[in-house]
């Protein structure tokens, strides 16, 4: 353990164990158990997300409360495994109701889910408040299942949670191939003989198990977030199922541990909201900074594209204004005006492009080689040899691209379906700033382009 991490959680552990220093066995076991639950929730939730059934867990979760209450009323005991078995039974009953409503009444999926969530949760709340009002012995504290409260977990409870979680992860690992073919293309899966209905049932079943196991940590209302948020966060970072699942697991684990630690540090705080907020924080950061899919990455590449485009535009205008032999010289103001018109935003972009072209030595302050002109005002610039080459290359590429589009039109095809590696790169790499990595030119219909005019 790195020293800074130790120092940051030491006070948490100290307050949780009630001693001034050190980690009690009990705390350690509970944290381990909840960490396992967080990991498994992320892994199992990934499958639900990929199958586009993220709300199935929510329906199951809200129903668990009724099961907990009924299990208590039926047995009069309040040990965790008994209550969780009750929770599982009612979760399955809710999911069966969901399927029933959808099949028999032709209600839409989302409406059916909303009905099941509301009704089953209502039943659960009614039962719990009834038990509390009657003051049944041992009935107090059942409402902890509403928001989650890990402080009450015993070592044995935590061990049960951990074992069930690990089993769920093992099941997912074993059946991953089947789950992926089902989620990606259910029709193909059915056509090639996979029992789609059975696989869906297994998927829903294991989600229900995870929701139940997550109850003590996050509570009936919020446990679904443990199943949904980590996979969404993990998806931002990777394009591979094989990496998304373990990553979602790790994010779930981190969120669970952070939530438990925070709730232990401030006795009285429910665990559930803290776990969910931790997961949400990780998710928000992922939305922001993930490579490729993240907001910043997307804004950045849009800005790069815009910059490349206006560099190209400015080069083109310079080429046009510098006369047939390229020795007329250009006036920056005239270039700005022609490149951006009277749009101020356009001019700002264009002037930034001008500066970056000047920095790269593609345009030079004029003088040598320029044709003398009467009444020379002084501020004359010219394209350098490299700039000239780049401007011509850009023209050539535009012609090539037009040629491709013409061909597409002739054959009556949508250009979006054209078989090109990356259409936006057609211009980009021709005018990329010197600082960025120069990519190899694209083979965009190059052979068929008429030789350029120079």
């Amino acid at each position: 353990m790195t020293p800074w991490l130790w120092f940051s959680i030491r006070p948490v552990i100290a307050s949780a164990s009630g001693t001034s220093f050190g980690l009690t066995y009990n705390t350690l076991v509970v944290v381990t158990g909840v960490a396992a639950v967080g990991f498994a929730a992320g892994v199992v939730g990934s499958l639900a997300l990929l199958r586009r059934r993220p709300l199935v867990g929510d329906a199951a979760a809200h129903a668990t409360l009724a099961g907990v209450a009924l299990a208590f009323l039926a047995t009069g005991r309040r040990d965790l495994p008994t209550l969780l078995v009750g929770a599982f039974v009612s979760a399955v009953a809710a999911l069966a109701t969901l399927v029933f409503i959808r099949r028999v009444t032709r209600t839409r999926d989302d409406a059916a889910t909303a009905i099941v969530i509301g009704v089953s949760f209502g039943i659960g709340l009614a039962l719990i408040s009834g038990i509390t009002a009657r003051g049944l012995p041992g009935g107090g504290g059942l409402e902890q299942f509403l928001l989650g409260h890990t402080a009450a977990l015993t070592v044995r409870d935590a061990a049960v949670l951990a074992v069930v979680s690990l089993l769920a992860v093992v099941v997912v690992a074993v059946g991953l191939k089947e789950a992926v073919v089902l989620s990606f293309d259910a029709e193909f899966a059915a056509a090639t003989g996979w029992p789609v209905g059975l696989l869906d049932l297994a998927l829903v079943g294991i989600v229900a198990v995870m929701v139940v196991v997550g109850l003590p940590a996050a509570g009936a209302v919020l446990v679904t977030a443990m199943v949904v948020i980590p996979p969404v966060a993990a998806r931002q970072w990777t394009d591979r199922v094989g990496r998304m699942l373990p990553l979602a697991g790790l994010i779930g684990l981190a969120a669970a541990v952070a939530g438990v630690a925070a709730s232990a540090a401030r006795p009285g705080l429910s665990t559930g909201p803290l776990v969910v907020l931790s997961a949400a924080a990780i998710c928000a950061v992922s939305f922001l900074i993930a490579p490729q899919r993240g907001w910043i990455a997307r804004r950045w590449s849009a800005a790069v594209l815009e910059n490349q485009w206006s560099r190209g535009r400015v080069l083109e205008v310079c080429l046009q204004l510098s006369g047939p032999d390229g020795r007329d010289g250009v006036d920056p103001t005239a270039v700005m005006l022609r490149a951006a018109g009277d749009s101020w935003a356009g001019r700002r972009t264009a002037s930034r492009a001008w500066q970056s072209l000047a920095r790269d030595g593609l345009i030079l302050p004029g003088g040598s080689g320029l044709k003398p002109r009467r009444g020379d005002a002084g501020n004359r610039w010219q394209l350098s040899n490299a700039g000239m080459a780049m401007a011509w290359e850009r023209r050539r590429r535009i012609e090539a691209w037009n040629h491709v589009l013409d061909e597409a039109v002739e054959s009556g095809r949508d250009w979006l379906t054209l078989d090109l590696p990356d259409p936006v790169d057609v211009l980009g790499s021709a005018v990329a700033p010197a600082t960025s990595v120069r990519r190899a030119p694209l083979p965009v219909a190059t052979p068929r382009v008429p030789e350029s005019q120079d």
Partner: protein, 255 residues
Amino acid sequence: MTQPLVEFHDVTVAYGRRPVLWNVDLTIDRACLFGVIGPNGAGKSTMLKAALGLVPVVGGYVRFFGEPLARVRTRVGYVPQRETVDWDFPVTVTDVVLMGTYARLGWFRRPGRRERELAAECLDRVGLADFAGRQIGRLSGGQQQRVFLARALAQEADIYLFDEPMAGVDVRSQERIFAVLAELRDAGRLVIVVHHDLRTAAEWFDRVALVDMRLVAAGPTAEVLTPINLQRTYAGRVELLEELGQAVAERGRTP
């Protein structure tokens, strides 16, 4: 007598109470490139789905090699329409092609080296060897369709069913796809293709079936694609449009 490769026997399919395909009797007894042609909404795709058990049939049955599908499933390959899947799904091109081998692998067995080599070979055949590691969303429409084609090749089937493989696909991909289909035919496979473009149908397919909610005609392309048959398949729609146009003109508003 040898069994026919595919036999549709009096197949009728209905969505709700509306029949979309009725009394289809069709026997294909030798390997060829077989086109299922007809206007939009004529039940062409439904015909394939009924054959594969993806939609329930009201009556009739479909046999492959004289057997029900369940007994010969690994010998029948299927390529659904491209729009049916989420292309943002986090898998690579190779992952998708490997799915073609899953049915043969059976429960819980993972693809091994043999399957990976097969997948690479199939990708090479459709001209996508360079894209093996790409996420499937970062492909053009034509490339995506070729990924599906490669997945079907990886099934190593004897009969292939394609649902509109040329829809929304650029010319280069179309030619590539057609070349692979012809290769399959030449290797003795039966290739059944749902296709909506009459112009290309005549030059591509050895035999065709004209379908417009029922089987209008079936047989060698030259004998089936006659003006009279085309009239019977497509003309109904034209008349309908004319009637609708008249009704609109008479009432002065949309009916």
